[in-house]
Amino acid sequence: MADRVAIVGIAQTKFAPKRVDVSCGEMAYEVIEEVLRQTGLEMKKDIDNAISCSHDIWDGQTISNIGITDVIGGHLRSEEKMALDGSTAVYYGTIGILSGEFDCTLLMAHTKMSQTNRNIVNNDAFDPIYTRLLGFDYTSAAALQVRRYMYKYGITPEQIARVVVKNLGNAKLNPVAHQSGNLTVAEVLSSPLVASPLRKLDIAPDTDGAVAMILASEKRARKITKNPVWIRGIGACYDAHYLGDRDLADVFALQKAAGQAYRMAGIKNPRRQIDVAEVGDDFSYQELLWMEGLGLCERGGAAKMLEAGATEIKGRLPVNPSGGLLGGVPINVYGLNRVAEAALQVMGQAGDHQVKKDVKIAVAQGHSGFCGQHQCVVVLGKE
C-alpha cells in the first residue's frame, strides 16, 4: 500500500463564456496534453488509471465519458467517471493510489455550459415524483437556502455582496478567470434580481473549460517533481435530497466531510492550522456558509470575518484568492478547480494571486447537487 499521495501536475484552460472553437474532447485534450508535458509523463507508459468528471445531461450523452475515452487514455485501458463535482475525482483518485493498485492517476474534469440551458439541465436534478414538475433549478433552490441562512444568522445583503466584491477583485489577478472587476457593494446590490435575494452578480456565470491533474504515489511523486503537494486528508458526505428535508441553513454534511478530512490530516484546530481555503462559491453566500461548515469560524461568523478583511489575499485566512467560482468556472469542474487552486497556493505557484503568507496547509471544498447536498473536502500540505 502506498503511504502518501501527491499532486504532481496541474493544467487549467482559460475559462471562457463560449468555446466555439473546440469540441468537449478537444478542450479536454488541451489540459491533458499540457499536464503530461509539464510532468514529462507519457500516457501509455506512466498513467495507470484515469478518472474523468463530467455530466451526462450537460454533455448530451449517456455516459458522458464514453465520448472522451480517446483523449484521456481510456482506449483499451481503465477509465472511470465521477458524475459528481470534480473534487470527488481527487477523492477517488487518492483512494485508488492508497489501495496500492495504481501509482499514477490522471484526473480531468470538463463542461461546456454554453452548449445547453443551465436551468433546464439542473431541473433534471430534482426528483421526478414530487419536485421536478414545480420547475425548480439550482438558482431558485439556492435562493431558498440563502434566505434561510440570512434569517437564521442575521446576515445582511450587504455582507453577502462583499463576497462578490472580494472574489471578482481577486479574479483580476487570476489569468484563467472568465470575469473580474472592481465592484462596489452598491453595484452588486443593484445588479438585476434573479431569484430574491439572489442577483445576477451573486451567481457564478456560464463558462466553458477543463482542468487536469496528476496524482502519484510517494515513490513516483519523488521522481516526477521536486515540489509535490501532499493530499493530507479527504472526506465526503451526503445530506438528504428533498428541499424540505433539512433546514437549508444547516451544514451537517460539510461538517462531517470536513471532520473526516481533518482527522486524517491531523488537524485539530482548523481556524489556526489552515492557511488558505478555496471553497465552492457557486453562489456568493455559499462562500460564507461553507466557511462555517469547514469550521473556519463559528456558525454565523463568516460575514464578520469577511468584513474584518481576514479572508482577503493579504488577510489572516485568505478564502478564494483565485476569485473562486464567481470568477467563472464550469459546473462539474468546480471542485477540481478548487483543489487545483489550493494546490497552486501550497506550491507557491499561484502567481499574482499567491497569498502573502507561507502556506503549509490549504483546504479545498467542492459540492454537488442543489444547496450543497453532497460535500467533499480535500486537505493539502507541504512536506
Binding site: 433549478d137 434569517y151 431569484a195 430574491s196
Partner: protein, 151 residues
C-alpha cells in the same frame, strides 16, 4: 497536406426528448390518489424516529426502517423560506414573477416545496401561515395543489 487553421465553428443542433413515465411507488401512489380524490395530504410516519415525513417514502433515511404507515398532515402550514423568481423557463408551470416556498405542514417534521400566491411580494415572510388551494381539475401530480396562500 495543408493544415487548415481557419474554419467556421460548426454547431450540431440536437434536442433530447424522452417521454418518461415515473412510477410513484407504494407511498407515492397512496399520496397522489388521496390528493386527487380526497384533497388530503399524506405523510409517512417513522415509528422508530417518531417523525412524520413529507414527501411520503418507504424508507426512513435516518434509521433505515421500512415505512408503511401514512398519516394525514396539514392542510395548514408555515413558511420556512421563500424566493421571488423573476425569470421564465419552459420547465416552470407558472409565469414569472412567482414565489417558491418551503412550507412545513402542521403535523409534519419536514417541509414541502411549492408555490405561494395571492400574497404581495412584500408581505411574504418566514413564519407566514398558509393553506393550500387545490386545482379544480386534478390529474394526480404535485400541481393538484395549485399553490399555497395566506390564511
Amino acid at each position: 497536406m495543408e493544415e487548415i487553421k481557419k474554419y467556421e465553428p460548426f454547431e450540431v443542433d440536437q434536442h433530447i426528448t424522452a417521454q418518461s413515465r415515473y412510477y410513484a411507488g407504494r407511498m407515492g401512489s397512496r399520496f397522489y390518489i388521496a390528493l386527487r380524490d380526497q384533497q388530503k395530504i399524506l405523510g409517512a410516519k417513522c415509528p422508530r424516529c417518531n417523525k412524520v415525513l413529507w414527501p411520503p417514502r418507504s424508507t426512513c433515511g435516518v434509521c433505515f426502517s421500512e415505512l408503511t404507515e401514512t398519516v394525514e398532515i396539514g392542510p395548514l402550514g408555515t413558511v420556512e423560506t421563500f424566493t421571488v423568481v423573476t425569470y421564465n423557463e419552459p420547465v416552470q408551470p407558472r409565469k414569472a414573477p412567482f414565489i417558491y416556498a418551503v412550507i412545513k405542514l402542521d403535523g409534519a417534521d419536514t417541509g414541502m416545496a411549492h408555490f405561494l400566491d395571492e400574497v404581495d411580494f412584500d408581505e411574504v415572510h418566514i413564519g407566514l401561515r398558509v393553506r393550500p388551494v387545490y386545482a379544480r381539475e386534478r390529474n394526480g401530480n404535485i400541481l393538484d395543489i395549485q399553490y399555497f396562500k395566506p390564511l
